[in-house]
């Protein structure tokens, strides 16, 4: 391949297969939520199509790359693409962090009557607007849609006012997980240095360590979810449970994806796909892993600690 010529592929079936896959996945999911028995199977089918598409599409790109079809300019396109994709992920998390800050700083204090006194300070007896509440509504109270507007009448019995520190101590598992993820960033950087120096055995060692740290993180995260759930913190436990599980859940999903990506990179390293100068696949995954790392730091500070 000449250095001058930009590789423009022609004719591909993978996108349309991806569209069919993702639509099948979503339609199955929506029907599943509405109680259709076949929803789950359709979802699984959609997921399988997506997996097939990703293997096929990425496999084709990997092949083209190892056949030397891509020049430096194509490499730069991939770099711009990956970095702005990560930025879009940052903005997705920003929406959930924004919800967290808004609830903590504004809506929960307002429900307690702060600032403008538009809200009654007596939502119900013994209501206190503290962020750490695990539930705003007494467990077992069925709220019909019609009673939403009459929430001051909700009885006071059984309101939980446990703090998150009682449920999740930030200096226990979360701190350990922080250490694990930070360490995985370091091991991954060592792997990158080894790659640039051309020491394949070292790359493999550091990559395996990174993957192991990521898997350990996920294991502890599942353990911690178990504790939290057992102590009564659920997705349905009001806004604290909502932000806690949605933020950490989406993060955990991204770590899972990152671990899968790192595993693919490990496989590709062993196949000898990369050399010291040409290894965007490695770097793209490393960027992604560091992004996941930074999101965790935000989570540790704002969800667990403060």
């Amino acid at each position: 391949m000449s250095e001058q010529e930009y590789y423009v592929p022609h004719g591909t079936y993978w996108p349309i297969i991806g569209s069919i896959g993702v639509s099948t996945l979503f339609v199955g999911f929506a029907n599943q939520m509405h109680g259709a028995e076949w929803g789950g199977s359709v979802m699984a089918l959609g997921f399988a199509i997506m997996v097939f598409m990703m293997f096929g599409w990425f496999g084709q790109v990997v092949n083209e790359s190892t056949n030397g079809i891509y020049n430096k300019q194509v490499d730069r396109s991939f770099r711009w693409g990956m970095s702005w994709f990560i930025f879009s992920e940052v903005m997705f998390f920003a929406a959930f962090f924004g919800a967290l800050f808004y609830a903590r700083q504004l809506s929960v204090p307002w429900l307690g009557g702060a600032d403008n006194n538009l809200f009654t300070p007596d939502l119900w007896n013994a209501f206190s607007a503290s962020w750490h509440q695990m539930a705003f509504i007494s467990p077992g109270t069925e709220l019909q849609s019609g009673t939403v507007m009459s929430f001051p009448a909700v009885p006071a019995t059984g309101i939980e006012t446990a703090t998150p520190a009682m449920v999740v101590d930030p200096w226990g598992l979360p701190a350990l997980n922080t250490a694990l993820l930070l360490a995985s960033g370091v091991t991954l950087t060592f792997a990158h240095h080894a790659l640039r120096a051309g020491h394949r055995d070292q790359i493999v060692g550091w990559l395996v360590a990174t993957i192991a740290l990521g898997v350990a993180f996920l294991g502890f995260q599942i353990m911690e979810y178990g504790h939290a759930y057992h102590d009564g913190l659920k997705l349905t436990s009001g806004i604290y449970g909502s932000t806690f599980y949605m933020l950490t859940g989406f993060h955990g999903f991204h770590v899972t994806v990152g671990v899968i990506m790192l595993t693919v990179i490990l496989y590709r390293v062993q196949k000898g796909h990369f050399n010291a100068d040409n290894h965007f696949g490695f770097e793209g995954v490393a960027w992604y892993w560091h992004f996941v790392d930074v999101v965790w730091l935000g989570l540790f500070v704002f969800v667990y600690w403060l």
């Binding site: 592929p9 349309i16 096929g56 711009w80 693409g81 924004g98 808004y102 509440q133 929430f151 806004i239």
Partner: protein
């Protein structure tokens, strides 16, 4: 999956060939022109579908009293009209224009990421299909307005809302991939001799729009994800009984929504900045100020979102901040309008169809801009909020702004796309038909709003009857004008007279140096510095 690649891996030197034959060409294509055409035809189909819904709305509002549809269906019409026009028509049309034009304008062979380009288009028909399928579900389509405020869209919404949510997710994937592709193309595929300040303004405006898309669309995805979990998994983001707040939805939505309105107008500014210099036969006045104004508008668009929420409830300091920040946008926008006028000043002007659309854009978009300023004044907005004045305002900026520029661009570049010339006489008839009827349609709505007629209602008090009837008549005439537009475009493709490479005397830009019908792969060898300077708007 490994064997499938061998043909492309070894057969790379045959990619100078033309398009494939048959229907699969359009499914498999990675060519920026093919994909641009797909986007444009998709958008046009959606304009007709969304337009049909607008016709139902105007028929219902033709006279006071309940006329032809029940109120719930009316709400579905207003909601789906808005969603389809914003996400299905205007945005894809601009991405289509970007696909067609950007590689030609920057001297590139194609888009930077051609396979992903295919995917960002081919998600759209699926998303549109899911969105439209909600009409056939129990409880009907979404009926909570295109802004889908909670709790209307959570607690009180029909089951089909979950399908709507996934459709929005898919539309978001498409937009984000499209934006990433345009950024990579502009920053990495430019002819080596083309500096950033050599770029045509359409390229500049689309580059800046891409940053808005990548910043805003994921936030929308977050908002609909929270809706999804609030509806199905018991979270409390928008539910005060769980410590959340419906107002939070409005903040997140408009944090997306305000950049979104500039996503739909910045490329329009780019289009007009090409057409006016061509037919004024003068270089664009204030090229660099246009670039900086575009960037300023984009920046400001992120910090003004709560001016949509003056009546939702906000501390006075917040109202003041969002009011003044909003006023500030008038400054760079004014720079643009005055630059267009200065470009025309003492120019050798002729009034071919694209120029007519561009000039009417300047007039009518400015009307929409002024009514926007009125709405941005917090104390005055108490009167205007949720009235037909708002409807008139955003239709002036979106129809006679965004859509106008898309039609202008279509006529301006149609010769380059087809190698043929459209019927100028018919096109002028169409222009005057559209520009008169659209004003009959939307101008009276200002008066209705000032008099207090609320938006999103199927029935109204008797004092609003006359203006509503005038507006509806204008609406039917404007709707009918699209039949003529369809005919003109198809007639051009089929029977148009062959044209030259540069059919417009004063036109500048690398796209005009290509063959009359631009070749399938635009620039296989990048243009020289001399050519770039000759064709630059900034010279």
């Amino acid at each position: 999956m490994t064997t499938a690649t061998d043909t492309t891996a070894t057969g790379h030197d045959d990619h100078h060939h033309g398009p494939e034959k048959g229907l699969m060409r359009w499914v498999k294509t990675t060519n920026h022109k093919d994909i641009g055409s797909l986007y444009m035809w998709f958008a046009f189909t959606m304009v007709l579908i969304g337009g049909a819904m607008a016709m139902v709305i105007r028929m219902e509002l033709f006279q006071p009293g309940m006329q032809i549809v029940d109120p719930h269906f009316f709400n579905q019409m207003t909601t789906m009209h808005g969603l389809i026009m914003v996400f299905g028509a205007i945005m894809p049309a601009f991405v289509g224009l970007g696909n067609w034009l950007i590689p030609m304008m920057i001297g590139a062979p194609d888009m930077a990421l051609p396979r992903m380009n295919n995917w960002s288009f081919w998600i759209l028909p699926f998303a549109g299909g899911i969105l439209l399928s909600t009409f056939f579900m129990d409880g009907g389509a979404p009926a909570f307005g295109w802004t889908f405020y909670a709790p209307l869209s959570t607690t009180f919404a029909p089951d089909s809302t979950d399908f709507f949510i996934f459709a929005v997710h898919l539309l978001g994937f498409s937009s984000i991939m499209g934006a990433i592709n345009i950024i990579a193309t502009v920053l990495n595929m430019r002819a080596p001799e083309m500096k950033l300040m050599d770029m045509p303004l359409f390229v500049w405006t689309w580059l800046i729009t891409s940053f808005l898309l990548i910043g805003a669309m994921p936030v929308l995805a977050g908002a609909v994800t929270m809706m999804l979990t609030d509806r199905n998994f018991g979270t409390s983001f928008f539910d005060a009984t769980g410590g959340g707040d419906p107002v939070l939805f409005q903040h997140i939505f408009w944090f997306f929504g305000h950049p979104e309105v500039y996503i739909m107008i910045l490329p329009a500014f780019g289009v007009v900045s090409h057409i006016i210099p061509t037919f004024a036969r003068k270089p664009l006045f204030g090229y660099s100020s246009m670039v900086y104004a575009t960037a300023s508008i984009a920046f400001l668009s992120y910090i003004v979102w709560a001016h949509h929420m003056f009546l939702t409830g906000m501390p006075v300091a917040g109202e003041l901040y969002f009011m003044y920040a909003t006023m500030l946008i008038a400054v760079p926008t004014g720079v643009k309008v005055f630059n267009w006028i200065s470009t025309m000043w003492r120019g050798s002007m002729t009034f071919e169809t694209p120029m007519l659309w561009a000039i009417s854009f300047v007039f009518l978009f400015t009307i929409g801009g002024f009514s926007g300023l009125m709405l941005g004044i917090a104390p005055a907005d108490i009167q205007y909020h949720d009235t037909y004045f708002v409807v008139a305002h955003f239709h002036y900026v979106l129809v006679t702004g965004a859509l106008w520029s898309i039609i202008a661009a279509t006529f301006y570049w149609l010769p380059k796309w087809t190698g043929k010339m459209y019927n100028e006489k018919l096109a002028k008839v169409h222009f005057w038909w559209a520009v008169i009827s659209v004003n009959v349609l939307f101008f009276p709505q200002h008066f209705l709003g000032l008099a207090g007629m609320p938006r999103r209602i199927p029935d109204y008090s008797l004092q609003f009857a006359d203006f509503n009837m005038i507006s509806s008549l204008g609406g039917f005439a404007f709707g009918a004008s699209f039949i003529l537009l369809t005919y003109i475009v198809i007639d051009c493709i089929r029977n148009g007279k062959p044209t030259t490479a540069r059919p417009w005397e004063g036109a500048k830009g690398l796209e005009w140096t290509l063959e009359p019908k631009a070749q399938y792969h635009s620039f296989n060898t990048p243009p020289s510095r001399k050519l770039i300077e000759q064709e630059s708007q900034n010279s």
